[in-house]
């Protein structure tokens, strides 16, 4: 042995700092504060800007009917739904990047969102044809309830296909998986556009807006539909933390550490798909959040997965709410979909982080 064995310092262990003092706590507090700020701004700002007292009065039900409607029925559910879909896409991307050891993995790039969209659009068209109501908005509530389920079927089938086509000699090949996903995503996009062009005349506008990933018209109903899946996703992710640590190693290496790799990887893929596809089912495919937020979290948190996870939740919600807020305030009365703004906001920041990579 060339180096004499010394007693290493005991500092630097995970969670060893006093609460509120360590860099980890500072990071999480800052993230939490940002979330509160954008959430308040999300309720306060819009076509009509409100004051603090108006918002408070609206929340407590102690204001004019108009303010109450704006706060309680429009902005609050929209902001909360935005936060949830941010969490969904960020966690989904985080899981996919870890389970495939591929920094480019994300529900959009792997075709999971596209598969979810296609099945959701088809379900929408068929549902519309069966009910054939004169007023499409009357049966959106029917569709909304079931769209996440249809989207999940599409997402799961796509995820499984991409996963198995991405295998090489019994091991997952990240490059093959990404390429397969990109090709399948392209094909599914084409099919979705085709389905829309052929059968979707009646509601092309509505569906096109949904396909751009928009929070327009998000109500409590949307939140209620999404929330169970958020909870399932969070529980699943918490269960996965320890196996994910080992999944970052080479497949065979992970197996020699006693990890039942196929079982855990399948579970991680399932949770990632449920998270992404349920969000797609409610607001349509929102890109980039799933790619950017895990990267940013990793850069800020280092290799500590629990901290990465919490940061993904906080920052995913921040980006989605902020993007939606900007999208509906910058060009009033026009709205830019949240997916578009998150890309415009996130990509320069992402490139900046990349350029600073050692």
């Amino acid at each position: 042995m060339t180096h004499p064995a010394t007693t290493p310092p005991r500092s630097g262990r995970r969670w060893s700092h006093l609460p509120g003092t360590g860099p980890v706590a500072r990071l999480l507090l800052t993230g939490g504060l940002c979330l509160v700020l954008v959430a308040v701004a999300g309720v306060q700002l819009g076509a009509v800007d409100l004051t603090w007292s108006q918002v408070w009065a609206g929340l407590t039900g102690d204001s004019s009917e108009h303010v109450q409607r704006v706060v309680f029925e429009l902005r609050l559910p929209r902001t909360l739904t935005g936060a949830l879909i941010g969490i969904h896409f960020a966690l989904s991307g985080w899981l996919l990047q870890l389970l495939s050891r591929n920094p480019l993995a994300e529900a959009g790039i792997l075709g999971i969102s596209a598969g979810a969209s296609l099945v959701a659009v088809i379900a929408f068209i068929i549902g519309d044809w069966m009910v054939s109501s004169a007023d499409p908005y009357n049966n959106t509530s029917f569709a909304l309830q079931y769209l996440p389920l249809f989207a999940m079927v599409g997402g799961l089938v796509t995820a499984l296909a991409v996963y198995f086509l991405g295998m090489r000699h019994g091991n997952l090949s990240p490059v093959k998986m990404t390429l397969t996903g990109a090709v399948i995503a392209g094909m599914l996009h084409a099919l979705t556009t085709g389905a829309l062009a052929f059968w979707g005349h009646a509601h092309t506008e509505l569906v096109a807006q949904w396909l751009a990933g928009s929070l327009y018209g998000a109500q409590w109903q949307h939140l209620r539909t999404l929330l169970p899946w958020t909870l399932i996703g969070l529980v699943g992710v918490a269960l996965l933390i320890r196996p994910l640590d080992v999944m970052q190693l080479d497949d065979q290496h992970a197996r020699t550490l006693g990890l039942g790799l196929n079982r855990w990887r399948a579970f991680a893929l399932l949770i990632a798909t449920l998270l992404a596809a349920s969000a797609v089912g409610v607001v349509g495919p929102v890109g980039f959040v799933g790619l950017l937020i895990p990267h940013i979290s990793r850069r800020l948190a280092g290799a500590n997965l629990p901290v990465q996870l919490v940061l993904c939740v906080l920052l995913g919600a921040v980006l989605a709410v902020l993007a939606d807020l900007l999208g509906r305030t910058l060009f009033t009365p026009y709205e830019v979909p949240v997916g578009v703004v998150s890309a415009i906001l996130g990509v320069p920041f992402f490139l900046y982080l990349l350029s600073r990579q050692p």
Partner: protein
């Protein structure tokens, strides 16, 4: 403990290991030698239960490895692949701590005993001072010691290594082999590794198994195995084998393609190095 019986392995339709029966001596250092594609890595993977056998079996404690629960197997046997993947941004301490994974159920957090095992493994491999450094920032030799520390934190009695010296320069190669030798002597660790360098195998191994075309050519002590005829037969090298003072063989040679017109100067120069190394 670890042995194979008429083991045959294949990737798809391509047979790689053919009818090998051998036993790994407990508490010894066993080296697998052989040309590229002779089946060394494949055989190591089958020891770790990573490849289903085409025919025959691998036994650990008289029980076929495929019948072992993955986690229990991981408490007996650690493996270091040839090119392990470093998780993004991970610190030395956290990577070494991954070796504790099989000691806890998946819902449990690491305990003090795990922290102690991690610290101990870092001390044994001399990487304690690097504990807070990102693994990516270390030199090749340091990284290899960190990987060995992770395998030691697993606290198994058998350590399998797939060409642990391949991507290291000479000084680091010897450092890693000396470390393994120390661990074997002082802690009774059973080491099984594939190597490319005959002299290093001769210097560090208690037992050498030579594979050729997926079959076991010879197995025995370095003195029995490293002979001019074997080197010529298996590696197609014309070799001169001398015995060092420690009784271990030492060889030098030139490729068969140069048989008719041996590069005399090179050959002489090799001999000079050999002399200085031995005397």
């Amino acid at each position: 403990m670890l042995r194979t019986e008429q083991l045959s392995l294949a990737y798809g339709d391509k047979p790689v290991v053919d009818n090998i029966s051998l036993a790994i001596p407990e508490g010894g250092i066993t080296c697998l030698l052989g040309p590229n594609g002779s089946g060394k890595s494949t055989l190591l993977k089958s020891f770790a239960g990573l490849l289903p056998a085409r025919a025959g079996k691998v036994y650990l404690d008289n029980r076929p490895v495929e019948q072992w629960d993955r986690r229990r197997l991981a408490l007996r046997l650690a493996m270091l692949p040839q090119k392990p993947i470093v998780p993004d941004g991970i610190k030395v301490r956290d990577l070494v701590a991954l070796g504790r994974f099989p000691h806890r159920k998946w819902w449990q957090r690491n305990l003090t005993t795990d922290d102690n095992a991690t610290l101990n493994a870092m001390a044994m491999t001399g990487v304690s001072d690097l504990a807070e450094r990102p693994v990516e920032s270390l030199s090749g030799g340091q990284q290899q010691r960190v990987w060995i520390a992770m395998a030691l934190a697993q606290e198994t009695d058998i350590l399998l290594l797939d060409e642990p010296t391949t991507f290291l320069d000479w000084g680091y190669q010897l450092e890693v082999l000396e470390l393994l030798s120390t661990l074997n002597r002082e802690h009774g660790l059973t080491v099984v590794m594939s190597l490319h360098d005959l002299n290093q195998a001769a210097q560090f191994a208690d037992r050498i198994a030579v594979l050729a075309d997926g079959q076991l050519d010879t197995i025995g002590s370095p003195g029995e195995v490293i002979t001019e005829t074997l080197i010529n037969r298996v590696f197609r090298v014309h070799a001169t084998v001398n015995l060092g003072r420690d009784g271990r063989p030492f060889c030098s040679g030139f490729a068969e393609s140069a048989k008719d017109n041996p590069p005399a100067n090179d050959h002489d120069r090799v001999h000079v190095t050999v002399q200085s190394e031995i005397s």
